[in-house]
Symmetry: D2
Subunit: 382 residues, 4 copies
């Protein structure tokens, strides 16, 4: 993660996070460990919980704990334990929060004004979380400013597309070892993540069907050459479904590359099934009443984190560089920002992309003075 | 163009453009003819000039003129004639303008306050034009509101990507009949158009190199698997250059899929060349002093319009539906809008995508009531 | 065509075709002109007819005639004229023949033993022609040896895949200017040509359906991620059909990238149609009795040759280099070869590929002595 | 593996392998277990060794042993143990052999005429093995007939392309969790396996470079749009090397998707390295004298079998169906076949493809009687 390491080195002396108590709620993985170390090196005190019951890498959690960071996370915790963990991080009276899904922010707001009054600001990593926060802000329920790290171009257009695209399919392969070439693979939703999964699945030889509820996204998928249909129609032919409740004749594989496990209706499924058995790690076979078999991966939790290793460090590097710089910005300016959801600045976005290119050894052109002038001289036409 | 035809039918009775005098400056092609007819049917009086010296389809111009619409455009006009044509359309004292590159707006502003005072608003079709208008607005030189049709998702994400992507390469094939498979094809710029050209060129078997000046776009191209380098490095290996002044050892093909012909420095080239000859339609061979040969397509003008037929009607359909609805909005609301550049509304964007899907016979899903509720219920977490 | 030019230079002095009278029956295009000149430079006397009523480029024919080569070909000739042209080339009493579809060979055999006795051998350019010749050989009807140039890897795996792939779609674009992105494009047959068309169509954003009669080819297409179905099923959804008689609800485009026009049943179509009109060059609209419209490109003749310019010179270079060397081999060895269909030698294939790479400036590795030894030392295992 | 199961059912009654003693030497995986059961059900007695020191799935071996089949294989055996295992299977005096790399056949020949005289025939699964056997046959050292299962189209064009293509990259991901998008990935060799790896790597966003020693394959890779260069040039830029000894500045990943571990020169590497450490499962970091780091996956053994699970069952299904039918053919006809390497028959190939399509629920067209007649009627031309 050369970008984050570069920034970590840059801010090690000036300690812009000195005095900051940061509560984080995010997958405890090897990449997150680097982020936590960068935050500590910049002067912050950190406490951490995981944001998904199945995504914690226990060895990483142990290593961080050994370094003195309070870590409230382990693989396979229950829903009660999940919220207990988050609440433990709030006992530090954080003045900054870092979220992946907005569960921590929501929990902090549950603590009443006493809790939120002390918080300067927060950041949010995911599309799902930003949606929740916008709904809170619309409802005037959001009590402090939050930077939507998810919406940075260097996050959203990279992590969501290339990270989820590769790692979701990596999770499917590890959990099933199925040949993707020639399979009918249904992707429910064609946002950034869905687009990434669809593109990579085609790249591995799958025949991809897309389902959508938004016309513009559906049209985009169509012009990319994908089959677009309703889930009902897709269910009749699909072999593999990513993020969906669809069921088809026999032997279908279902998994989730979105966010919460409610994307797949496991309650309905357990009513339809007469038996269920773990046939491989992260792969449960449900035999339905009519004899058909359905394979649910990773209990309907995020297949890329639960069955593979989540997004590769190359893309998390940019996401977490955005987290790091956003927290520094909040430490500096948060007190003067009104509650609401804020975008990452274009400057930060461009800076991160420039550092990334540099660490990859890729040189690009610069506009000449004449070209710069042409861009603003609106008098020049045909 | 089923979307535009659908809207044309919808507004034929209510005549929302009655009393409007619309001056247009846009490529005179078969697709533009449909737009002009839709504007007339909605009640407008129309006068038209072309926005590129080489893009006018003379038979289309003749047909429109025969229908009584004043058309000031022919294939191959000079720069002086080009501006004369635009000025002729201003003699109708337009109250709405429609631009493709902002030449008409700029010319109208040259006419002084007397001219612009009578104009309710305008629309702009292209990235280049929107850039010019933003620069004018920043400079407080823009005197009336303009809707940036270019920036509608149903325009920008479709016309620029799929339209230019296909038609630029179509132009290269018609002008050269070269095999793209195995060629080193250099695309200068990886915005929407450049991305479309790069993707389609790879789809035809070319080995694509991208040059950029913006780090985020350069990084995006890198993660899409393209070679990214400086133009100097690309010039050493490229066989075909799209929108650039690059030159390499021998036999390179150079063309422009951007906007104005200044993207290729023809003056410098004519100084480097000892002779030049039209070897095929729209394909001029320049022999350089050192014996190398360089093929410039369509005199450095837009290769997709000059050497092929421009964007296919399927994508122009959505662009022009945006033009049509934006002009109706301006006719209704323009007088109360302050000067500046306005986006197309999300509703208009979604409406056009929905009509397009419908005309293609593609059905998509709808959110259930439960799903709608989930989207706004920020209390639901893991 | 640097490979053919290289070989032409190589054999200009030794004149290995001196005394040879070569009758050729092949598309009269700019590429064929280079082949004819190479044959003449190598000492041959040449007479030529076209092998398709619509593929002759009349200006090329005129230029060759002006150089003194008898050319019996013009664009748009009738079937009677077609055979008359072939027969004219036989009046030279050829001792070598060159075919593209086996019409000339078949016609020479119709001339009786007196004609074929004088012929040392022939070459055949196409899959269709090789099929015909194998059927003749099986029937003991073939009277002289023929080299199946089509089956050379440097022909078959390149010309058929990349040449037809690009040029068939080029023809569709020139005849229709349709947007391929998002279209349901049906390819009938997944041999080398069909595979090339399918791959390129996907590369241009089309959603490709393949129909086949051979299980292995159908399976290959499936694992490449294409939809595979029967033509009946494909007809219900296809927008564009390449090489097929399929018809669907409305507005379908039908064309042929195979060989003869019997691939599309025009007789049945004319019975189904109530009217027909040429709506663009090479694009005839047929209105069916039930009101649906069907667009047949290039009268069902080869769309890449009739509506575009045929295969690009880069691939014809290798095909014609194979023709050239095969004719030289026949001139040298044909008299001692029994009648039958012969493959191109591996050495010739490799030589042509090596010259091609060299002319493209591409260097490759060589096996070291140790690696060479390892290849033949079967005693070395795990 | 529905094809193999279909054939297993078909031959369970007739027992065409009754009396046959089959020694097999092949990766002991879940797919091989199905093949062994099919052979036993068809009447054969079977003894088995693994064909690679790192590919044995120990649980599969245990399960087969529990069923009474002698299995001489475990994960991580030494070279001496490897040959000892093979020799143990020869103690059954086999009359048929099944190979994956020809080690068993070679070992059987080492046993002298007494051993080979009793063997009716054998089969070989891989390109590497078929090469060895052809070299033996050329040297008149091969003493019994062997069917080259590898060369069946339903094996070679599927298993090698789609199987290796997906599973080699699966192995890289499991051993490294690296992001492939934007990586410079070098594939040494562009045969069926290399082509599959290159295609899938591009599909995952990598920028692929190909090195080759054969001009035709190099040219094919070029026209597919890949960068083709020498390994020296590729070494200067590559991030990941598949099957090669190349080294570049820092942090390169090297692995083998070919056959034997001698594809990567580990002896030279250990001389260049000052230290080496297992940093992840199947991923050893070598620090070179000059400080650069090199990551060798799976000790240079087949990365798809050692780090992932080998080819997915969908493609092994067809390979093993070919094995099964070839052994039945040898049991029936082998005694009357002279020593040598034999191809799989076209009929067997087509039959397997047809069964596979049927099990996938894919219907294809059939030639009509008219079309059948057209194919053999060489008199029909233009």
């Amino acid at each position: 993660m050369p970008v984050l390491q570069h920034l970590r080195g840059l801010h090690r002396q000036s300690m812009p996070l000195a005095g900051m108590r940061i509560a984080g709620c995010m997958h405890v993985t090897k990449e997150t460990a680097i982020l936590i170390r960068a935050l500590r090196d910049a002067g912050a005190e950190v406490a951490w919980s995981g944001c998904n019951p199945l995504s914690t890498q226990d060895d990483v959690a142990a290593a961080l704990a050994a370094e003195g960071t309070p870590i409230y996370a382990w693989h396979g915790l229950s829903t009660d334990e999940f919220y207990w963990c988050i609440d433990q991080t709030l006992t530090m009276d954080p003045n900054l929060t870092l979220d992946d899904g907005a569960d921590l922010i929501f929990r902090a707001h549950g603590g009443g004004d006493g809790m939120t009054a002390g918080i300067i600001g927060g950041t949010e990593e995911t599309t799902t979380g930003v949606h929740r926060l916008r709904a809170m802000a619309d409802d005037r329920a959001l009590k402090y400013p939050v930077i939507a790290v998810n919406d940075a171009t260097t996050k959203w257009d990279f992590d969501n597309v290339y990270g989820t695209g590769q790692s979701a399919l990596d999770g499917v392969l590890r959990a099933t070892s199925v040949l993707l070439a020639g399979k009918q693979l249904v992707v429910a939703g064609y946002g950034h993540c869905g687009c990434g999964v669809a593109q990579r699945a085609r790249g591995l030889g799958a025949n991809v069907l897309v389902t959508e509820v938004y016309p513009i996204a559906a049209l985009k998928a169509t012009l990319e050459g994908f089959n677009v249909s309703t889930m009902d129609a897709a269910s009749a032919v699909g072999d593999i479904f990513i993020t969906t409740t669809g069921i088809r004749d026999d032997g279908a594989i279902v998994c989730n590359a979105g966010h919460y496990d409610c994307e797949i209706n496991l309650d309905d499924l357990s009513e339809l099934a007469v038996s269920s058995e773990e046939v491989r790690a992260n792969n449960r076979e449900h035999v339905l009443r009519d004899g058909r078999r359905l394979y649910v991966l990773a209990e309907g939790r995020l297949v890329n984190l639960a069955a593979a290793e989540g997004h590769p460090p190359e893309v998390m590097d940019m996401s977490f560089a955005n987290q790091f710089l956003s927290l520094i910005r909040l430490a500096r300016e948060g007190s003067s920002m009104t509650p609401g959801v804020y975008p990452v600045s274009d400057e930060q976005d461009r800076e991160i992309a420039a550092i990334k290119l540099q660490t990859m050894g890729i040189e690009i052109d610069e506009l000449t003075a004449e070209q710069q002038a042409y861009r603003t001289d609106y008098a020049q036409g045909t």
